[in-house]
């Protein structure tokens, strides 16, 4: 199923004023822990999960995710394992799963091969933070063919013009980066943020996801009615590190 319609369906649920998307770094601390964490997430109402395939140069990530990428690679995670794990997840859980990774992982695998494989594994979207449309000729040709939604990213520095340009390429939803900087720092939700989200909305037809620094029920509440999807990234990684897998379920349950 297309990510667009998956999201439409989810949003149609009258109980859900906002969807939740969470972030997992595959292989950190292990696929086994990922498996447990994802289970807890799904059981506690997460609507979408982006699974990051680790890359040695995670340029757009903050320290927590950088370290997770690095440890996972050091522990020997491979792209092949990530793909197989994805199949297991999509077969086990019915929510949409996306791959988040850097372009080199696709490029080195062979971009089309990677699409084909991801499609096989039941993945419905790709988030590639270092692939602007200008560089995505090959990539964007394949998204329709393999029915994988290319998630476009809006940033607070994006002009309306640029947003409209990006919108042309996007599928699934728009990932609105809540603030400048990398993942994992706190975001200030203020008037400037509101104006930014309004600008995003004005320049997008797809649902809006907001990520970077979302870590509490208060944050999610603030986003409700402003955005369609709240993205929780670094927070759950830190939670698993400090309180273990079991803490994830209650945390997620308490967000909405």
């Amino acid at each position: 199923m297309h990510l667009n319609s998956q999201i439409e369906t989810a949003l149609a649920d009258p109980d859900k004023k906002i969807l939740l998307m969470t972030h997992i770094v595959l292989g950190y601390p292990s696929l086994e822990v990922n498996r447990q964490v994802i289970k807890q997430m799904v059981e506690n109402g997460v609507d979408l999960i982006e699974m990051q395939i680790p890359f040695s140069e995670p340029m757009a990530d903050g320290p927590v995710i950088v370290k997770a990428n690095q440890d996972a690679i050091e522990n020997g995670i491979t792209v092949k394992e990530c793909l197989e794990f994805a199949r297991e997840m999509t077969e086990t859980h019915s929510i949409p799963f996306l791959f988040m990774t850097y372009y080199n992982i696709l490029f080195k695998y062979g971009v089309e091969d990677f699409f084909k494989k991801a499609k096989d594994m039941g993945i419905t979207g790709f988030i590639i933070p270092d692939l602007p449309p200008e560089e995505g000729e090959e990539f964007f040709k394949l998204t329709d063919k393999y029915e994988i939604a290319p998630i476009m990213i809006y940033a607070p520095t994006s002009t309306a013009e640029r947003m409209q340009e990006l919108a042309k390429y996007g599928g699934g939803f728009i990932y609105c980066v809540a603030r400048k900087g990398v993942t994992g720092q706190q975001t200030d939700f203020d008037e400037e943020f509101d104006a930014y989200i309004k600008k995003c909305r004005d320049n997008a037809k797809l649902p809006l996801a907001v990520g970077f620094g979302i870590s509490s029920k208060a944050d999610v509440d603030y986003l409700t009615e402003r955005a369609d999807i709240a993205v929780i990234g670094t927070k759950t990684i830190k939670l698993v590190e400090s309180e273990g897998v079991e803490a994830v379920g209650p945390f997620i349950a308490g967000l909405r």
Partner: protein
């Protein structure tokens, strides 16, 4: 949709969306200065009053006679202010920063040379300055850290990844995406996303322009071959640009052969067989990476060559056969350094010495009426800790041990 900054299939600008406008602005500013002859004039004038341009082209008579073949000329980038060609790029970007009205610069550094140059430029232009440097490199290159700090820069040790150059680049980008309005990222070599390769190559082209004029004056004709070491590729691109359109001039880039091309401990992207095409750090080039696309650890006695990627411009010139690539091992480098010091009274940086190695291998087979140019990208006295260590010098060790004991007590 425009796809710019490509050299053949190499290059591009694989940047996070948040930097899109910053790059638009940078491209616009750069395009404007590049077509403005008065900017280049300003640049040349700065380099000739603040640094020592034109740097000399030195005829190495003793080495020439020693090998008995080509006449060896050395382009002396070591005589630049701060001791290497890095100053050319940095001062050029500094002028651009002033034009763009930014107040702060950041940079990555591996060996520390580019960090010192950037800190110097920032002091000169009154800019705030933060330098990212792998923690490993901070430890290995403490003298450079000391100078950066004394020049007023903040040096941030980078603890992620392999804690070396590539990680410092990532970290600089992470700074930039956080604070792009008032900050310019002074990329240190002809790598990274467009327009950096073009921009750095442009500023460094001053080397080749001068060298061409100088060799015509001093030797009366073009050289047969031009050698340069290749880390990111900026000094090589700098000197090669003086001769690119002369078919008779062979251009040779020399990479870090480390412990040997078969050892897995080297940084030869184009001269070896271990690299493959990839996209990282904002651009597409040949990277030393594994089958999954994860970057590998590299090794060289010369910190400045110890990098996983290489200029997309050079990769294109390699593909097209215009530039030939070779590698020099750590051991060959130490031997060539020793010979150069003793024969000419010149101390090339370990990086630069790689170019000497290959030139020495070939000079004897060339004719005495041919000339070759070696680009000496920097001076070696900055590397005393590494060089004295590599020569296993007992008095040096005793000196350090004693100093250490003094400080410890």
């Amino acid at each position: 949709m425009k796809k710019t900054g490509y050299y053949g299939e190499w290059g591009g600008a694989f940047i996070p969306e948040v930097l899109y406008e910053t790059f638009e602005e940078l491209n616009a500013a750069f395009t404007q200065v590049k077509k403005d002859p008065s900017f280049w004039q300003e640049y040349v004038s700065l380099m000739s009053t603040y640094s020592c341009r034109p740097t000399p082209l030195t005829f190495a008579e003793n080495l020439s006679d020693h090998f008995g073949g080509a006449r060896i000329f050395i382009k002396r980038e070591d005589l630049n202010h701060t001791g290497a060609h890095k100053a050319n790029n940095v001062m050029g970007q500094g002028l651009l920063v002033k034009k763009m009205g930014k107040k702060r610069v950041i940079a990555e550094t591996g060996a520390g040379q580019h960090g010192v140059a950037t800190a110097t430029m920032a002091a000169k232009f009154g800019l705030e300055c933060t330098i990212y440097m792998g923690e490993e490199d901070v430890m290995r290159q403490r003298p450079n850290v000391f100078w950066m700090e004394k020049l007023g820069a903040t040096v941030v040790p980078v603890t992620s990844g392999s804690k070396t150059l590539k990680d410092a680049i990532n970290e600089a980008f992470r700074d930039w995406v956080t604070r792009m309005e008032d900050t310019h990222y002074v990329m240190g070599t002809v790598c990274g996303p467009h327009p950096f390769p073009e921009m750095v190559a442009w500023f460094q082209s001053i080397i080749g322009k001068e060298a061409r004029t100088q060799i015509m004056e001093q030797f009366g004709k073009l050289p047969s071959r031009v050698y340069a070491c290749v880390g990111g590729g900026s000094n090589a691109m700098g000197v090669f640009q003086g001769f690119l359109d002369e078919k008779t001039v062979e251009l040779i880039g020399v990479e870090a052969g480390g412990k040997g091309l078969d050892s897995g401990q080297h940084a030869a992207r184009l001269a070896g067989k271990d690299a493959s095409a990839g996209v990282a750090q904002g651009y597409k080039t040949m990277f030393l990476q594994n089958d999954d696309g994860q970057m590998m650890d590299t090794h060289s006695v010369a910190a400045g060559l110890d990098y996983v990627g290489v200029s997309p411009i050079l990769t294109d010139l390699w593909k097209s056969g215009r530039v030939r690539f070779a590698a020099a091992t750590d051991r060959e480098v130490m031997e060539a350094l020793d010979l150069t010091m003793k024969k000419e009274g010149i101390i090339p940086a370990l990086e630069s010495t790689h170019a000497f190695v290959q030139a020495f291998k070939e000079a004897g087979d060339m004719n005495r009426d041919e000339a070759l140019i070696i680009n000496m990208s920097g001076r070696g006295d900055k590397d005393i800790f590494t060089i004295a260590h590599a020569f296993d010098d007992p008095s040096w060790k005793a000196f350090i041990t004693q100093k250490g004991a003094e400080y410890a007590s």
